[in-house]
Subunit: 224 residues, 2 copies
DNA sequence: TCAAAAGTGTTAGATTTACACCCATGA
DNA sequence: TCATGGGTGTAAATCTAACACTTTTGA
């Protein structure tokens, strides 16, 4: 039973902007296209949406293929639908951004897929409209970071306040005052101090903190 | 020349959430579905994306069909892509919201299309995932209103400060202090006072203001 | 012993909020 | 004349931003 006769169907794909925080920089994971059109050009990792698959699920599947991780934090960036955006054939693509903790990410998978981490401030020219996707994803992620505690998705489970501050500085592109920053953190009960000390990043050592989701869900007073 | 063999193609549509400000209320324009599936259910106005048409252009075309107006302020809400979202057939839909000045809108067209203005605080159950689309559009529009002067798109070319204040109150869902509101407006040079007086809404009469885009573009100091 | 990162409070300035009365006019 | 919406300023409270020194320890 066909209801909608006479309209053209098109391919729908998903493209993933995967953010990671590494060496004090915000980075995304990109690779070189393996096939034509555009073989060899820098590109986001993506895939086509299957007939019996929700678009969101296609994005989750694509992220899983790439990282081996499930339950990754993910948000839709939007649909990109210019007629000529893909030189091969008409494809409408839905972009998603995802945040991962680089230290949990399996390097082997990265190499298998031929992917590189590149600094968001130094993105090369990419295939089709992928640069636009990245800019929009970056902007949306920055906005989200101001109103929701998603930064923790980019950090190890345990982190120091200096790491957290660097993360905010890098995403906002501005330096923050250490004392003011720590004051604000102290007001957020869901950022829990542990008794553990990190000795990697300084001689003196720094307390490790963790994000407590239960406390956040009860009292989500967040403002950054 | 086919590059992407073996992947399923699907219908892509656009759906429009058209906001208007009327009788001191924020409203959207919806109608009853004329055909199956879902004949008779409340629904957004939409249409399919043509083979040679950008998705954004499909939204503009749809808005033009509906309103007879061009250059309508419009933003993408996002893609809605659940497999079973449309009971007829698989359709991925890209939602857009638009802001129009109700007083410029031709009532004849509204009646021709069988559309109604309904209060955003009192939206009936709608076809498929259209209620979700409306909620997300409303949220995005509220956020945008805080950082960009898009409210003017909902008002007549000339408006009183009381009208402007009501608009903000209705969109935010909160009352604002008259004196504080007017102070902020005074700081925004691009909201220009004219010598014209509106006599419709009060006996005393109120000065009419207008949005000056040129001044805004030069000095966009906006914060609401 | 010294370099490097961790940790800690106070104050001035800016912003935000609360609040009440007179004005002009048409009915 | 009075009911209705138009128009105006000030002060307290809150929030934000600027700022410098001591601690610990591994090399």
């Amino acid at each position: 039973m066909k209801y909608y006769e006479g309209y053209t169907k098109v391919l729908v794909s998903v493209d993933c902007i995967i953010f990671g925080f590494d060496e004090g920089k915000l980075k995304i994971l990109i690779g070189r296209r393996k096939y034509n059109p555009g073989r060899g050009e820098w590109s986001l990792y993506g895939g086509f949406v299957a007939a019996d698959e929700d678009v969101d699920d296609a994005a989750k599947r694509t992220l899983y293929e790439l990282t081996g991780m499930r339950h990754i934090y993910m948000n839709q960036v939007g649909a990109f639908g210019r007629v000529d955006r893909d030189p091969g054939e008409r494809v409408v693509s839905i972009a998603y951004y995802a945040l991962i903790n680089v230290s949990e990410y399996d390097e082997k998978l990265r190499l298998e897929h031929g992917l590189e981490w590149v600094d968001v401030d130094n993105i090369p020219q990419m295939y089709s409209d992928h640069n636009e996707m990245v800019s929009k994803a970056h902007r949306l992620m920055q906005d989200k970071l101001k109103t929701e505690p998603i930064g923790f998705r980019l950090l190890p489970h345990l982190f120091t306040l200096t790491q957290l501050q660097r993360l905010y500085e890098v995403v906002y592109g501005a330096e923050l005052d250490k004392r003011n920053f720590r004051k604000r953190v102290k007001d957020m009960d869901f950022i829990e101090k542990t008794e553990l000390i990190d000795k990697k990043s300084s001689k003196r050592g720094a307390y490790l903190y963790r994000f407590n989701r239960r406390i956040y869900d009860e009292e989500p007073n967040f403002k950054m």
